[in-house]
Amino acid sequence: MVTLQHYLILSALLFSIGLAGLVIRRNILIIFMSIELILNAANLVFIAFSRYRANLDGQVAAFFVIAVAAAEAAVGLAIVIAIFRNRSTVKVDELNLMRN
């Protein structure tokens, strides 16, 4: 029988994988994809609890998270293109202009 904890554990796994990608990878595109994974993990918890409480408000919250993720991807990828045009790199450890 599939209970709430199954979905919470799946969400925890997805969140941890996304966080690992965020910390380990240096390619800015893959860092963005990890952020999308983390947002999906959050959405899964929203929807699982919405089903558990038999209350649709959680699904509406997940809907707004998807909309914000779309906006974030559009602006973020535009920034990636702008950075690549100026510095010809997508590796975040090479973007150290402010440090020196």
Binding site: L13, I17, I24, R25, L37, I66
Partner: protein
């Protein structure tokens, strides 16, 4: 329904949950592990489809469709478009940011975090209540969006407009 059929039904649900959850986790690992961003992007598309199937199992039909349309359709096309546009050479994909020790430590800490959460959740057994057939349909969610949540709904449209304009301003060579 007779007792035996209910039990068979629940078993099928569990099997489908493990298929889609396993697919989602495996492809999510692929996203983090692949060197080439294109491979990561395609793994992420499969992951989104699997998560969408999990949403459908939670009776979130509307969100399952939106997940495929917006995430697998729009956002991932944008990602793949940008990856193709940048046309990265193999030497630009080499990553030498962190030492192996740091990466190992990060993986160990995150795995411990994850298993801690799993241990926490193992204590609970929350059985889902029976939901109405109309739960999570486009009609029900739409009704909420246009009544209780009408203001955030309109606000999100402004947010998307700002994001479009911001994207054009940032990515344009000169205004």
């Amino acid at each position: 329904m007779p007792e035996g059929r209910v039990r068979g039904h629940l078993k099928m649900e569990l099997i489908f949950f493990y298929i889609f959850a396993g697919l989602a986790v495996a492809t999510a690992l692929g996203v983090v592990a692949f060197k080439n961003p294109i491979s990561s992007a395609f793994a992420l598309v499969v992951s989104f489809f699997a998560i969408s199937a999990v949403y459908a199992m939670l009776q979130a039909h509307f969100l399952a469709v939106i997940q495929v349309l917006v995430y697998a359709g729009a956002i991932m096309v944008l990602f793949i478009f940008v990856i193709m546009l940048l046309n990265l050479q193999p030497e630009e994909l080499e990553e030498r940011g962190f030492s192996t020790v740091f990466k190992g430590a990060a993986i160990v800490v995150l795995t411990a975090f994850c298993f801690g959460l799993i241990f926490l959740f193992r204590q609970m057994v929350f059985v889902f209540p029976k939901a109405d057939a109309s739960f999570g349909t486009v009609k029900e969610v739409g009704k909420l969006l246009f009544t209780t949540y009408w203001f955030p709904f309109e606000y999100v449209s402004i947010l998307l407009l700002v994001a479009i304009i911001g994207g054009v301003v940032l990515a344009k060579r000169e205004l």
